[in-house]
């Protein structure tokens, strides 16, 4: 923390007002948004687990909430968020390992993450609908 007079009115990176919008910064923002969404999603996980622990009545109520259309919309959002954050998280980990910083690679892996999260979301929802009774 610097002193107030030093931090006051200093321009903030990445200078959004003159920054050219592109895939890399968009993906970065979406990573943060999906992370936040997933954090909020943990509330549903806690609620759902407590409902199961409480008994069939509460569980039925929770299932009704989840299968209602707003519930399904949230679930769809969370499915996408999960796979996006997971895919882009692996991209982040590869940067930590020092790989993939070249602009070309950066853009390619970025689009790959978008494709991966969309496909995985589709596959998951297809699986959930197509083979509902697979043995746990």
């Amino acid at each position: 923390m610097s002193s107030p007079e030093a931090s006051h009115e200093r321009p903030l990176s990445p200078h959004l007002q003159i920054y050219r919008w592109q895939i890399t910064n968009t993906l970065s923002i979406v990573h943060r948004l999906t992370g936040f969404a997933l954090s909020a999603g943990t509330l549903l996980l806690v609620y759902w687990l407590i409902a199961v622990a409480t008994g069939p009545g509460r569980f039925a109520y929770a299932q009704a909430l989840i299968t209602s259309w707003p519930g399904q919309l949230l679930m769809l959002g969370w499915t996408f968020s999960l796979f996006y954050h997971l895919g882009n998280g692996i991209r982040h980990l590869s940067w930590d390992a020092g790989w993939g910083f070249e602009l070309k690679t950066l853009r390619a892996t970025g689009w790959l993450v978008v494709l991966f999260s969309l496909i995985m979301t589709g596959v998951c929802w297809w699986l959930a609908g197509a083979i509902p009774g697979i043995a746990p």
Partner: protein
């Protein structure tokens, strides 16, 4: 009137001294969450139209309960660290930042414990 040199002032304020710890914990939980969340998504898909007894039995199964507990720990830890960074980046009013930090930390622990307790109760019930 300041009697300390800028350097001494900066040293006095210090860093959070947890930079590496935070970074490392975020990465460790991230690595753990990759297989955990794939397993979780796969499991939830299998449970989509399951009845109460099936869901209960699935959570109560020891391996599932154990992995769920690890998942809960990793997920809440990771989410807490992530929310902390978001607060640090966007909340510039010091007292508000501090309040939100405390809130995120407390909420993460309370919710994490609640989730874990539910799993333990389900696993030990039958």
């Amino acid at each position: 009137m300041k009697f300390r040199t800028p350097l001494s002032h900066a040293r006095g304020l210090g860093s959070a001294k947890e930079g590496t710890g935070h970074w490392w914990a975020q990465r460790l939980t991230a690595i753990a969450l990759v297989p955990l969340m794939l397993w979780f998504a796969w499991s939830i898909i299998g449970l989509t139209s399951a009845d109460y007894a099936t869901v209960h039995a699935w959570i109560a199964q020891p391996t599932n309960a154990g992995v769920l507990l690890i998942l809960i720990y990793a997920a809440f830890y990771h989410s807490m660290l992530g929310l902390q960074v978001i607060i640090e980046d966007y909340v510039h009013v010091r007292w508000m930042e501090l309040m939100l930090m405390i809130l995120v930390r407390f909420a993460s622990i309370i919710l994490g414990v609640a989730a874990a307790l539910a799993v333990v109760l389900i696993a030990t019930e039958s």
